[in-house]
Symmetry: C2
Subunit: 241 residues, 2 copies
DNA sequence: CGACCGGTTGACTTTAATCAATTTGCGTGG
DNA sequence: CCACGCAAATTGATTAAAGTCAACCGGTCG
């Protein structure tokens, strides 16, 4: 990988993995050049945090590679994960004073970071970008609302089944091969058990018990701690309701 | 529909109660005239539905008066309320194919309705409106994420306490009188017990028991089924965590 | 090798859901 | 105006689900 300097001087956006999926997708080349000038790439290691809940909102970012976790805490110290961000997702709070949640990399990751003030100005001057951002925010709102249904009305089994199905989708290799419905799929979980518990509003013990139960029932296999194989997607979908 | 005609011919927006708070706030007068031409007012009775989950998204709307409920169903028939919309809030899914949730009036209400296609076109041509819509959507996303914390990590008591405090804020009379922190506040609940249960991800029995418990402990009073008096806001805030 | 961390498992407790009566409040019609 | 019927809300008894507390695996790393 080249140094940051060369990343800035040449236009990295043009070759960006998410050039056509992120909010910058609709920008013309000259606009991309401008955006390129105010953003910079940053590499994150798993576990590294880039935004802190309650802080002044000075940064916004785009996820290029890896999985990020958005979370908040209850006053008694329990964590609730508010969402996960995958490549092409947007992070942070434009047009706002404070960051409403903490953001941490779950895997090694690449992000494209902007000073919020720069980004806000650019967005206001480029309606096409703002439009993309709006579309993305609306989608995110829909996704979050579906998550509310999960948290409010599902039991532990339904929660975990839904989580596995969604994660399988999101972690699917980019080649998008349309495998048959009943071909076993194996993927690496971007989250440890405790984090899965935090996503689903459960405890680690309950998550663990559900995993072993699903394994016993032949729905999934667990080749290693961080890997899952979906053996019977249909049955999982039934349980996810 | 003659009524509609006259509403259309004069500019209703200019005198609209939410002219300065809704997404139209930043529009110039000539833009407002254009917007006025594509929207129309609609009166809703309590219980009336205006959007259906899964339908083609043909309408979007602004709440002018009253309280609306956004909700979805689990396949086993339980309802989960995804949010409530108060005056100046925006309803529906611009730039999308299907409506992601059902919308029903909880009280008698007024809304300002647009054909989605008209609205989408207008928004794309008027960045200031789109910007306002973006800000509002971002706020709504923040609010929804906070709600996730409630659903995922709070117990019944914390949920109800949070709900009462938030509702008190939102239902506060428009005169915005800054009452002291410990002055009892009485307001009318826009929701029946079952609906409160659906908002909080609880059952009606649990909600009822929490109400009576809080009353016994002197935190609140219940002058009638639909009314609540907050007697000790501080103590409620403690319980809401 | 032993300590340690993440995960699993078991025993027990707590919370809220469920099931089942009542009770309350309210509108309707005699 | 009162009696009736209905829906909403409350209350009680019981059950089920998930949380808690604690012990124990099993890799991994120093």
């Amino acid at each position: 990988m080249d140094a940051t300097l060369s990343e800035r001087s040449s236009n990295f956006c043009q070759a960006c993995a998410i050039r056509n999926r992120a909010i910058c997708a609709d920008l013309a080349n000259d606009e991309i050049d401008l955006l390129n000038a105010i953003g910079r790439r940053r590499k994150l290691e798993a576990g590294e945090q880039i935004l802190w809940e309650g802080d002044d909102a000075v940064l916004v970012a785009n996820v290029i590679e890896g999985v990020m976790k958005l979370s908040t805490q209850t006053s008694d110290g329990k964590e609730q994960i508010l969402g996960l961000a995958y490549p092409s997702d947007f992070l942070g709070r434009p047009f706002g004073q404070t960051t409403p949640y903490g953001v941490e990399a779950l895997t090694d990751a690449h992000v494209c970071v902007f000073q919020r003030s720069d980004f806000d100005r650019f967005a206001r001057e480029h309606p096409r970008l703002e439009h993309k951002l709006l579309e993305r925010t609306l989608m995110e709102l829909d996704r979050t609302r579906r998550w509310m249904l999960l948290l409010g009305r599902m039991n532990a089994e339904q929660k975990l089944a839904s989580f596995l199905l969604e994660t399988a989708d999101r972690m699917a290799p980019a080649d998008c091969s349309f495998l048959g419905d009943d071909v076993p799929i194996t993927f690496t979980l971007p989250l440890a058990r405790q984090q899965i518990a935090d996503v689903l509003g459960l405890t680690i013990e309950t998550v663990s018990r559900q995993f072993t139960r699903m394994k016993k029932e032949g729905l999934i296999d667990l080749p290693s701690r961080r890997e899952v194989t979906l053996l019977d997607r249909g049955a999982l979908e039934d349980r996810a309701v």
